[in-house]
Amino acid sequence: MIYFDNSATTQPYKDVVETYTKVVQQYIGNPSSLHPLGRQAERLITQAREAVSSLLGVKSKEILFTSGGTEGNNLAIKGTAFRYRNRGRHLITTKVEHPSVYEAFQYLEGQGFEVTYLPVDKTGAVSVQKVKEALREDTILVSLIHVNNELGTVNPIQEVGRLLADYPKVLFHVDHVQGIGKVSLPFKGSGIDLCTVSGHKFHGLKGTGFLYLREGIWIDPLLHGGSQELRHRAGTENIAGAVSLAKALRLTLENQQNKTEKIKQLQGMIVNAVREIHGTHVNSMEDGAPHIIHFSVPGLKPEVLVQALAEEGIYVSTKSACSSKQSEPSRVLQETFRDEELAKSGIRVSLSYDNTEEEANTLITTLNRVIPELLEVVNI
């Protein structure tokens, strides 16, 4: 069994699961309760917040725990738009965002906001120049994906952040869900105001995540009720989830330090091998994120290849998991390559730091055998 679908979700680290279960068993209080059990729970979530913030070099009150990346993105985007709508109603994003960003913006278009969806170049990246040209007097938010979840393309976040430093009324949000632990992005000094992270993409648990919200910025909440999460998010805290998230982050950042070269090597092996297979087209970039390899086999339905590999115990994916059900071509690939055939036949291989050379070799051998077989069937 070889799991190469780590951009869809990851296997939680053993330590993460242990931390979660330990906290669940030992801390039964509600952090809002005044008795010792409540205060212990409150202290624990404060510690988790401190652990996350110190790993990222930010202040602990800048970290809000959420239920995941989708909530983080919706909170950041809708919360900023509604909070500052009296300042202006123009918003900027790109055409290749994850649906949790893209659809939040589409919703805002129906609420009286005007959205500029920036085009991307043929690597799938947005240019600083394009952002600059789109800025207006009434722009209040720029939201960019850091690492694209389909192609692994890395956007020039720090450059855009530097540009936006000259526009103090424009807030800058980054969807860092695929980037964290894979492609470094300093939260401080990059001009970022809001940044979304999701636990289950780096061996944390599903239903966990956080939003970085720079000190001094207020946004409208998505959830109204109690005054949890420094009044930004109502609802009883998932304490064990938050503690396990801090654990996952620490382990992932350690792995990033020690194992990035290793997975870059695996990525290179796979890319080179796929290039050699007749009828394939590698879509991901040399300088993209180290964990994503994306290619198309024009003429071949990607589900067929996914299934053929699954029969051999190798798990990869078509498009992003969230839209796998839709049979439409990928919006991201369409916008990047403007080639319907490529966009319809994309396959994503996504690595974790625990994947091995042996697993990569098995994938390569299998692709070498399976792709020509399947293409032969198609061509009859």
Binding site: K14, V24, N30, S32, N238, S323
Partner: protein, 379 residues
């Protein structure tokens, strides 16, 4: 001295079997349910099964279950989501003054967005009158939200009656049943409710999971956009282990509900009569008949609840002043304020709430310790 937890209305310990059920869904079945390969499909199967169990438990259809990150999110989705999506049918909403903040603050948000909200009063027992609902109803009313059981007093509202009455009206009916779930049998059809909220961590499930059950023909504006999950009512990768934990908690509760109800009833009666027999000045807050068996809210006139709680702490009893979500600091309770003019009464109010792990012996002990402290503080 042994510590005794009587704050189960705030949150409950997770049942050991619940954790056990979750572990395989963290270690092995970790796929994304949206993925088309085996990993994804196994996770999807777990999700489907949980949805079936919840639908059965709430008396609704499979596709009417939406998993959320908790009770607050489900309340917000019901109230804000329904109101926003159905504005063209009317601008008027009805709720009560004693709702949980997850409902109340959602209505306040809607007021700021141009809706007209009627906050119905309650009587001294904490109960809303069906007549008041009828009188408040207008042609423009699109939503009525009334909690099943109050989290501070345990007072149970006449949901079925109100539901029956509303079935003739365009207004849909939402009920926050977070405190009733696990103890009362909930059937959306029998109750005549269109939307129902429950939360996992109140029934010995994990925190961070909740459910909105909502009739499938209702249009609800999502709070979270960005994926096909939960039939587009709630985007985001599903919290599979959490949902599996909730499923297990529901299964455990279904086999033990009747026993538990009987046990809590006897715990409540015991504690109440011990307090009444003792030489302390005491008032019971909330209805005597229409009340959840796991909640007992009492005031001790002349006693400041903060010092009472501190003393109970020292004696190893974890109880609460009001709902945990208004706590953190002790703010005056909006629920008790709606029931009585007398603000002293709410400043001396203490909530005991029972649950998994409590037994008669513990409650006798709680009674003893409480009486001793109150006697000291009242002299």
């Amino acid at each position: 001295m042994k510590n005794i937890y009587v704050d189960h209305a705030a949150t409950t310990p997770v049942h050991p079997e619940v954790i056990e059920a979750m572990i395989p869904y963290m270690n092995e079945v970790y796929g994304n349910p949206s993925s088309i390969h085996t990993f994804g499909r196994k996770a999807r199967r777990g999700l489907d099964e949980a949805r079936e169990v919840l639908a059965r438990a709430l008396g609704c259809q499979y596709e009417e279950i939406t998993f959320t990150s908790g009770g607050t999110e489900a309340d917000n989705l019901a109230v804000i989501g329904y109101a926003m999506a159905n504005r063209e049918n009317g601008n008027h909403l009805i709720t009560t003054q004693v709702e949980h903040h997850g409902v109340l603050h959602a209505f306040e948000f809607l007021e700021k967005n141009g809706f007209d909200v009627t906050y119905l009063p309650v009587n001294a027992d904490g109960i809303v009158s069906v007549k008041d609902v009828e009188n408040a109803l207008t042609e423009n009313t699109i939503l009525v939200s009334i909690m099943y059981a109050n989290n501070e007093t345990g007072a149970v509202q006449p949901i079925q009656e109100i539901g029956a009455f509303l079935s003739e009206h365009q207004a849909v009916f939402h009920s926050d049943a977070v405190q009733a779930f696990g103890i009362e049998r909930l059937d959306m059809n029998e109750l005549n409710v269109d939307m129902l909220t429950v939360s996992s961590h109140k029934i010995n499930g994990p925190k961070g999971v909740g459910v909105l059950a909502a009739k499938k023909e209702l249009t609800i504006q999502p709070n979270l956009y960005g994926g096909e999950q939960e039939r587009k009512r709630r985007a985001g990768t599903e919290n599979i282990p959490g949902i599996i934990g909730l499923k297990k908690a529901v299964e455990l509760m279904e086999t033990t509900r009747n026993e538990k109800r009987a046990l809590y009833k006897s715990l409540r009666e015991t504690l109440l009569s011990r307090l009444q027999e003792a030489d302390v000045n005491m008032l019971v807050n909330g209805s005597h008949e229409q009340v959840m068996p796991h909640i007992l809210n009492v005031s001790f006139p002349g006693v400041n609840v903060e010092s009472l709680l501190t003393n109970l702490d020292l004696d190893g009893v974890a109880a609460s002043s009001g709902s945990a979500c208004t706590a953190g600091s002790i703010e005056p309770s909006h629920v008790l304020a709606a029931m009585f003019e007398d603000s002293n009464r709410s400043q001396s109010a203490l909530r005991f709430s029972f649950g998994y792990g409590n037994d008669l012996e513990q409650i006798e002990e709680v009674a003893k310790r409480t009486i001793k402290i109150v006697q000291r503080l009242q002299t």
